[in-house]
């Protein structure tokens, strides 16, 4: 993993963003000026990587291929739960960890072996109540299952840190479904370039090791990418970013430069992973025109060699020059005008309901459609330079945003940072512990390639401490602290 070196030459400061999309991979190289490029995915990711001939920090958004994994042939995930005492979970196995991280009931290896013999899946998710306080039982089950499920197809919930068993179960199942692909992607990109960072759904960057342990943070990252990119390119912090893509139009409101975050929901289950929220509409440049505007894609627009007319062709018929405009003329002018009206109406209604005053357009078709939407809504608009690769620019200018979950336990004499134990010699008050965690996450972020000025803004997400009471007296003290380097734009961006 590369370490930021302020003494490195000018080229080394180049920020390279790569957004692996549905049909193309967008590349943006952000230095004194911005250079962008599109590479067809048919040539593979390595081909896109070869296009990067300059040194610099590479950040990659893999949202689209991961979303395809999730939407494609379902990965069958076998789930082993260790619920212990408390609320009932069907199919749970024996074993329990308590609040303090003590193993109060052992697992029964024979029971686990029988379950593994009886049921089979493509991947394995293991989640135990209070495993974030002690991962021993989850690790024991993973080791029993190793012959059937290798590491890249086994996900454990203790990496997630949150005290929320149902949320961890849903996230671990999602992680199990994605882990092999993410491991492969990390290997593929890592083979070409050693120093890669992955772009998260909350707009921050993490090293591959973190991504493999919790791949869910990589899913649905397109909204964060375009929001960061549009903000960086336009310099506007209070607006709604409107991203007009091939199959969808996404609206991402920004308040003081920060998009709204929500917990991801996958398969109807709430996860513990935060991601930028976009309001998404199933219409874009490739939406089919057939007796009206349909929320469906049947390949490229006629103007790009496709066989069916789309919204892009409608724009050409009304006077624009996008691609091979002559090829679009199969569509009648009447139909073209009508579907553009339909599109503008639908999106304008949504924009009006958000109550924004300023639209910032992104995506290839933004200059052709955003002015019409803004005029209908009576709001200002800006189409920033490099609007068509705002997503890749957003990935490039993002900063390293690691999170750290620390559990201090004076009785056992250790502190666990993200589940890994270290000796704890003395334990101060809550402020002192938060200070230790801030320092640790800063150290880790810098080791992962963050600029020292990027790690000043640390979010304290959770602090909770209490005395361990055995019988009637205090025996030790326990504290949980969760901190995160705030996601955002790196100071390295020119």
């Amino acid at each position: 993993m590369g370490v930021w070196n302020p003494d490195q030459g000018g080229d080394a400061r180049m920020l390279i963003g790569m957004d692996v999309g549905g049909t193309n991979t967008d590349l943006a190289m952000v230095g004194e000026e911005i250079v962008s490029e599109k590479v067809s995915n048919t040539r593979g990711i390595r081909e896109a990587l070869l296009k990067i001939r300059i040194p610099g920090r590479l950040a990659v958004s893999t949202s689209t291929p991961l979303n395809r994994v999730l939407a494609g042939t379902p990965v069958t995930v076998q789930t082993i739960l260790v619920p212990g005492p408390g609320l009932f979970w069907p199919g749970g196995v024996k074993g329990a960890v308590n609040h303090c991280g003590d193993v109060v009931e052992p697992i029964d290896p024979q029971e686990i072996r029988e379950i593994l013999m009886r049921d089979r899946g493509d991947a394995l998710a293991i989640a135990g109540k209070f495993s974030v306080r002690n991962p021993a039982l989850e690790k024991e089950i993973a080791s029993l299952a190793h012959a059937q499920y290798p590491v890249e197809r086994t996900s454990m919930s203790y990496h997630l840190a949150d005290l929320d068993f149902p949320g961890r179960i849903a996230t671990t199942r999602l992680n199990a479904a994605m882990k092999e692909t993410v491991t492969w992607l990390a290997g593929e990109i890592g083979a070409e370039r050693g120093d890669v960072l992955f772009f998260k759904g909350d707009g921050g960057l993490i090293p591959p090791g973190y991504a493999v342990n919790n791949p869910s943070v990589l899913a649905h990252s397109s909204a964060a990418a375009v929001a960061l990119g549009a903000r960086y390119l336009s310099g506007i912090t209070d607006c709604t970013v409107i991203d007009i893509g091939g199959t969808t139009t996404d609206l991402v409101p920004l308040l003081r430069g920060v998009p709204r975050m929500e917990l991801l929901v996958h398969g109807g289950e709430r996860t513990v992973t935060r991601a930028v929220v976009a309001q998404s509409f199933p219409y874009g440049g490739d939406s089919l025109v057939e007796g009206g505007l349909l929320p469906r894609r049947l390949g490229d627009a006629l103007a790009f060699g496709g066989s069916h007319p789309t919204l892009t062709d409608a724009l050409n018929v009304t006077g624009e020059e996008i691609g091979d405009a002559a090829a679009s003329r199969r569509l009648s002018r009447e139909s073209a005008t009508s579907v553009i009206e339909t599109y503008l109406d639908r999106i304008s209604r949504a924009v009006s309901s958000i109550g924004t005053r300023h639209l910032v357009g992104a995506g290839y078709l933004a200059p052709f459609l955003v002015p019409g939407i803004a005029s209908r809504c009576g709001v200002r608009y800006t189409i920033p330079p490099h609007w068509d690769c705002a997503n890749a620019v957003g990935v490039a200018v993002s900063r390293v945003s690691l999170s750290l979950h620390a559990r201090f336990d004076s009785g056992r004499g250790w502190v666990a940072f993200n589940g890994e134990h270290q000796p704890l010699r003395s334990m101060g008050d809550d402020d002192a512990l938060v200070g230790i965690c801030k320092e640790e996450v800063q150290k880790r972020a810098i080791a992962a390639g963050a600029h020292p000025e990027d790690v000043r803004d640390i979010e304290v997400l959770h602090v909770h401490s209490y005395d361990v009471i055995r019988g009637a007296s205090r025996s030790s003290r326990i504290a949980d602290v969760v901190v995160q380097v705030a996601p955002g734009i790196t100071v390295k961006a020119p």
């Binding site: 005492p85 408390g86 109060v104 005290l163 909770h464 009637a472 205090r474």
Partner: protein
């Protein structure tokens, strides 16, 4: 069905001293369990952050002289008894706890939730009109009951299952036929009151029912008292609201008491109370946390069991970890049930002149 969970992080601020058993960790472990179970985001649970009780609401039950004393002692520190000193800022913490009880009742009366559990501290049921006692300062239950009556409900049934007799709450309503006060508690034990003979006074005669139980009493006896005393009594009284003084110190691991109730036993008791509330008063039930000092082995599981029963969740796995099994065997006294039956018989006889269900 929605259950309101009324909780404020500042409920953890009150502390008489670092080693006092009514300690903040009573809630820390429970909140950990509730968070880990996902109940902070559960569709059947609505988490509500309360505000302070008004002095008007508190003055309905406590003497102005006592409130003035608390106000003064909260600035300087003060002393009520050897169990109950007044640390700085006490009044603000006590008003927040009372506010929690009131907010729980409002959630139920306003239809935000079918029932509500106020996970408050400091507790209240030993506080009398003119003084605090036994870790209690303001009587959260009495303040809440007068609040709902002010809002138009007429009759309230209180079930106080804390291991200690709810002497303070009993004192408020001893002569009041609009409030049926029932208590199951260990006897002989602190505070020493709560005998079968205490059945009310004047117009309140017959509206107080004490069910003392010996040390070693467990699930079977509590179920017996629920079915043979509390349920028939409630059906004849027909309350507009059932209020539970939920003391979790009957648990077999509690370091201050000698009873043998389990987490499953607590969940079963609350399930019975919820059923009664549904049958008699459109489900209106408010539970207020009282005592309970088993921070690690008891409170997380008992409080979860109560919340789960109120929210209608699956109770099959409500239990303590296996490591406590031996403890339960040591604490349980098989002969206790016979004494409980004898006491119940005596109580029915004592109340028979006033209530047809006991004849």
């Amino acid at each position: 069905m929605t259950t309101a969970l009324v909780f404020h992080p500042d409920f953890l601020l009150h502390e008489q001293s670092r080693d006092h058993p009514e300690r903040r960790e009573r809630l820390s472990y429970t909140i950990d369990q509730i968070r880990e179970e996902g109940l902070m985001h559960h569709p059947a649970v609505k988490v509500i952050i309360p505000g302070f009780a008004s002095m008007e609401a508190v003055s309905r039950v406590h003497h102005p002289e006592y409130l003035a004393f608390l106000e003064h002692a909260s600035r300087t520190g003060g002393f009520i008894d050897f169990d109950t000193n007044v640390p700085p800022n006490l009044l603000s913490h006590a008003l927040l706890a009372a506010g929690g009880a009131i907010r729980a009742a409002d959630a139920v009366l306003d239809g935000e939730a079918e029932n509500a559990f106020a996970l408050v501290r400091p507790p209240g049921h030993h506080a009398r009109p003119g003084t605090g006692a036994g870790f209690c300062y303001l009587n959260n239950m009495a303040i809440m009951v007068r609040h709902v009556q002010q809002r138009g409900l007429e009759k309230v049934m209180i079930l106080d299952w804390d291991a200690h007799h709810g002497d303070g709450t009993q004192a408020f309503f001893y002569e009041d036929p609009s409030v049926l006060f029932t208590s199951i508690h260990q006897s002989p034990f602190y505070p020493g009151s709560g005998s079968i003979d205490e059945t009310g006074y004047g117009p309140g005669t017959g509206y107080t029912a004490n069910m003392p139980v010996p040390a070693g009493t467990g699930d079977e006896s509590y179920t017996y008292l629920l079915e043979t005393i509390i349920e028939p009594f409630a059906r004849e009284f027909r309350p507009d609201l059932i209020a539970v003084s939920a003391g979790q110190d009957n648990h077999f691991t509690d370091p201050l008491t000698g009873l043998a109730l389990t987490a499953a036993g607590y969940a079963g008791l609350m399930k019975g109370a919820v059923g009664l509330a549904r049958e008699l008063c459109e489900g209106r039930l408010v539970a207020i946390l009282e005592g309970g000092y088993s921070v690690e082995g008891g409170l997380p599981y008992t409080n979860l069991g109560i919340l789960a029963a109120m929210a209608g969740l699956d109770l099959r796995s409500i239990r303590e970890p296996e490591v406590y099994r031996e403890w339960l065997i040591r604490v349980s006294d098989p002969s206790a049930h016979t004494r409980v039956r004898e006491n119940a018989h005596a109580l029915r006889t004592r109340l028979a002149p006033y209530w047809a269900c006991f004849r």
